[in-house]
């Protein structure tokens, strides 16, 4: 890509929405949905009626709301939302070690292991992909926002 094309690409950002990271953030929500639809399935009904499950449900709601807001923010090149997305991505990784890992490690006398290997692999994959999407959205969105910010500053300097 030559210098002129690079300049046009930057200039285009003034008018085109930052769609790629925004869509990645939405994809992060989608995989989170896959995760929580799967995580509460269990033959051992009593196991899930704990405070942890209440907190998990609440966090899912907060995650979806925050992720959607960040998606909209990053679509409009608001760099601050990249940090929020990064935080959400890290949060998704941390979540792997809370509910799924605990359930996978727990064995009850009556039925044996609470979460089987297959279910565990699925929910971990969902959270990991969701985390990846959020982190990628944060990285791309943040980078593009800073590029646009610099470009706009240079335009302002020129016009001044």
């Amino acid at each position: 890509m030559n210098q002129e094309e690079l300049l046009i690409k930057k200039d285009r950002m003034r008018f085109i929405k930052n769609k790629l990271p925004a869509n990645l953030a939405l994809l992060g929500i989608l995989f989170d949905v896959f995760y929580f639809v799967s995580i509460y399935q269990s033959d051992v009904r009593d196991y899930y009626y704990t405070m942890m499950i209440g907190a998990s449900i609440l966090y899912n709601l907060v995650f979806m709301l925050a992720c959607f807001l960040s998606s909209e923010g990053i679509k409009n090149y608001k760099g601050g939302f990249a940090w929020l997305l990064a935080g959400l991505g890290v949060g998704q990784i941390v979540r792997i070690f809370i509910l799924p890992a605990q359930a996978h490690a727990t064995e009850l006398k009556k039925i044996g292991r609470v979460m089987g290997d297959r279910q565990y692999a699925f929910v971990v994959t969902c959270l990991a992909v969701s985390a990846l999407c959020c982190l990628a959205a944060a990285a791309i969105g943040g980078y593009r926002s800073s590029v646009l910010k610099k470009y706009q500053a240079s335009l302002e300097t020129k016009s001044a």
Binding site: E5, I8, K9, D11, R12, R14, F15, I16
Partner: protein, 357 residues
Amino acid sequence: MAQLRLEHVDKIYDNKVQAVFDFNLDVKDGELIVLVGPSGCGKSTTLRMIAGLEDISRGHLYLDGKNITQTPAKDRDMAMVFQNYALYGHMTVYENMAFSLTLRKEDPNVIHKKVLAAAEILDLTSQLNKKPSQLSGGQRQRVAMGRSIVRNPKVFLFDEPLSNLDAKLRGATRREILLLHKRLGATMLYVTHDQTEALTLADRIVCMSMGHVQQVGTPLELYDSPANLFVASFIGLPPMNFFDVTVAGAELRGKDFQVPLTEQEQKTLSAYQGKEITLGIRPENIVEGGSLSVKVFSNENLGMNTLVHGHLGAARITAKLRGWKSYRQNDVVNVSFQRKHFFDKQTTNAIGREQKA
């Protein structure tokens, strides 16, 4: 740019209603043609047939010598600007203008250049990030035009683009269209029912009525030498005054008034001696001083001119007199006619127009 030719084009709908009769027109490269006429005269139908949005029932359409009668609208390389703008409300101005090129999968950088160039022409650069709902009517219409410009089509088609704008904005946008035409040098067809738009914009005007072409000519030709009674009555504001008169030697005799004829006019009307004809006088061709007495019933001051409405004998008459006049009801003003137009009573065609042409 492009040349457009319509040959014996008819439009007959499925219910057998014929909207356009034997339409013939040669549009030169870079020409701005205005189709003008009252509502329902077939002007928009003609434009839609050219665009490919309506089938041509009979006849042929040629673009640069190539017959495109059966060519689908998308392959005709024409861009149409509609009365209601037809913008996408959820897209920004930039996205609206870029949309057609994005669909064609053009290079984004090329699209960007074209959109910025069009926005520059239309003075929309500062509006590119706004949604259509944030724009005024005139700006929306400019976006619609911009969407056409970026495609760089062979022919631009405008279907009453200024009808939704208020009078002031209409005037400003009209000037912009004219400027745009000069700048792009593009072939344009423009439909309107507003004769002021037609007169100010057109290189040539096609005046239509009831699906028939009444006259094709320059604005001056239509104004100064209307082909028939319809064109004479349609072009010009305020409209032309008409009187039923009889040719009697060196004068025209109406009910309770006589109008003297010049030698040239007598010659023109030589075949109509003793016959009844229609006399047409534009309000601006009536001047104060003369043998004709007009009994005033109202006057409208326009600043530089005054519109005087009154009666000449039993006939109603409107005169556009120079200056600020303050006539009262029943005042009598003596006037004379300068430029007269004569029309055959039966055919309604202009008399003596052939010799002039």
